[in-house]
Amino acid sequence: MTIATAAHKAPMLEVQDLTMHYFTRKGEVKAVDDVTFTLYKGEALGLVGESGCGKTSIAITLLRLLPENALFKKGHVFFYRPYDPQKAQRYIGFPVKIVQNGNEAYTGRLREVRSDAQLLLQARTNGRFQEIPVQVDPKAHFGVDLIALDEPRLQEIRWKGISMIFQAAMNALNPVYKVGDQIAEAINTHTPGQPPDQVREKIAQLFQLVGIDPAMIDRYPHEYSGGMKQRAIIAMALSCDPDLIIADEPTTALDVIVQDKILREMRVIQKKLNMSMIYISHDIAVIAEVSDKIGVMYAGKMVEVARCETIFQRPVHPYTKALMSAFPSIKGERRKLESMPGEPPDLIKPPLGCRFHPRCPYATEQCAKEDPAFKPQHEEHFAACWHPLS
């Protein structure tokens, strides 16, 4: 899959065929299987799916924050930034991808930065490794493969490039340190050498941005309400000016009124700073509120990715459609909802073929045998199904 379809947009994150399993006593949990999607700059992607379908696992795989028993299988995660010859020097020897002029893309191992406008890539063409010089446009997007990076280089990208708000992170604030100090520590470890006054000033600004009274900087976590803790966590995630934030269930533990406020604030901040976001939630209503684009996951697979309105109005995957109708709403007419038969499969032994086939009303013999490919259906609309709905 190429990202070339949207020429006018700057790519931010390109995930290709990402596959990661967990090793367990009972067998391998196939938590992330062949997941592919692209995120553009300034765009918010919502990942929805039921619990245990692999949403969190995708996030920790992209950031390579994997637990000990994780088995990374394959895939690429290109994280793009504007091309800068100085910065590109740092990635000599690592796989990179250059995207420019809309749909021109070069992938290969970076050998040399020859001049401001030329790079030497080592790539496989016609079955042989060859060195190919690439003329770089000054407006090119330079992507590094997070999967291939070494730990120090990756560490530079975590927080400063991509920061993550973990599920239930608000309970992870250390109760014995002041909240301000905990954020200052995050800033100091990732961008050392800033004078304390400046750091404090920055935290005050962040607090204002997320809607906490800056006077709360010197308070301890127990003096914060649940919503304020979550805001403080968001401020922490923003503290190193990341290009992309991954928010895993950012409001799941909160009450509706607080959830609503925080979601709206995050949306405003994202638009204001033109940041990219990945929201992860099991609640499609929450995702609908904040995302431009939605990725629907089922049993470790990405089954459909499309723009928000498309997912709601013209879903092509039967699971997406069933998911939509499984949510009661307070608006619209009150109707009886149909329950999906069966339940999500055990990811140790997922069904062969399409993983949704035991529950799918449209399943055919083919579905039970062959795994449908994840392929474009319409413009900016991808789905993995043998019999897409129209």
């Binding site: 039921e50 619990s51 309400s225 649940g226 919503g227 304020m228 009450d255 509706v256 009124i257 607080v258 959830q259 609503d260 406020k261 979601l263 709206r264 099991h282 609640d283 499609i284 209503a285 929450v286 609908a288 509120e289 928000c308 309105e309 709601f312 109005q313 069933a322 998911l323 939509m324 499984a326 949510f327 009661p328 709403s329 307070i330 608006k331 619209g332 009150r334 009886k336 909802l337 149909e338 329950s339 999906m340 339940e343 999500p344 529950r359």
Partner: protein
Amino acid sequence: MNPTATQPEISQVLRTKERDALVRIERLSKLYPVSKGLFARTRNFIHAVDDLSFEIGKGEVFGLIGESGCGKTTTGKLLVKLTDPTKGHIYLRDQERYPLLVTQGDRAIGAAAVRAPKGLTSLNHQQMTLLDVALPEGSDRRRFSELLQQLKRQGRSDPGRRAQGFILSAEIAGSVYSLVTPEYALSANIRTDSLAKSLEQLYYGDIAMLEGARLKSFRRNVQMIFQDPYESLNPRMTIFDIVNEPLAVQGIGSLLEREERVAEMLEHVGLTPASSFMFRFPHELSGGQRQRVAIARAMVLNPSFIVADEPTSMLDVSIRIGVMNLMLELREEFQISYLYITHDLAVARYMCDRIAVMYLGKIVEMGPTEEVIQNPLHPYTRALISAVPIPDPTMRRQPIELKGSITKPIDTQPRCRFYERCPLATSHCAEADHPPLVDKGNGHWAACYEI
């Protein structure tokens, strides 16, 4: 007293009794002691539930909505008698409970509730258990009790008239006293001396009074489904043991019959075939299946009332609807009433006939679900409804901003609980007590001065 004037009253009681409330809650409060600081001397109280009154009809799903910590679970636990109220009463209509009139000649001198587990027709003086009594104003309670005791000892029944509702009679100190059903009194033109109102009360038992065997039989009638299906099933018991537990504790049936019943119940909640589930352990089931087991367990005693505390909030979307539909089907089939506790308005809209919105231990608004959701009156309900995300990007909402966030109801001020956050608050609200819940028409109640 003119006999004809009192007769319509009693017939009214008899007519409404079938569709009357199953549960009646009156001014219920529960306070939990808390200490503010580590060394605080003063005792403070959390008003977890504060002066709640509502009724739940037969076969009705009554929803209790609110943010976390507003007292929903506490109310649920009070209703199943897991904790006892600080103040107030919970009355439950009990199938084994019969209100009877005590007559002297053709005049009713009082009423008494008796317990008859096998129905009135098999009630004789030996097995008669007297529960509450109700008397016309000015009667001597002690004398009446003595009379009842004597009636209980000496009463003889006449099999011929029993079927019509004439239970017992005895001659005491020269006059004939008897115990008759209200229906009999009505047909025999007995003067009831405006006992009808008290009679209505006698259909209900105050669950605070229950002890021993009566508490046990109450447990048979009222069950609870808990929020977390992972924690509400004992991990060391098989599914059979879990569903069988209520039957075993209540001493119902032989082992073989109980096996039958458990299997039947499991199939009823969609765990088919039952034999493949009976001897598994909870950790071998998925969340939805576990919640189905919890439902089977709650249903196995054929209760008339179930408290369901967020039964679907821990479940996955794709199985949540299945569990909700199951509960609705069981309601249709067995005429069960539910108290359905949830924080999710959309779920409440799907499940409930009527809902009550709680804020810091108080009901702020109550009414038919659709009415409350489409036409909220209380400023808190409005804010709550405006904050619910809608799974449809084409629908825009206008969220209502509220100041601050929900606090704990510790030693509350004597004014509207919502005052600090209310966008409509006036000086009147600051001075007056918490507003009473008043009927605004259509069975829609709200507690606010400004509507």
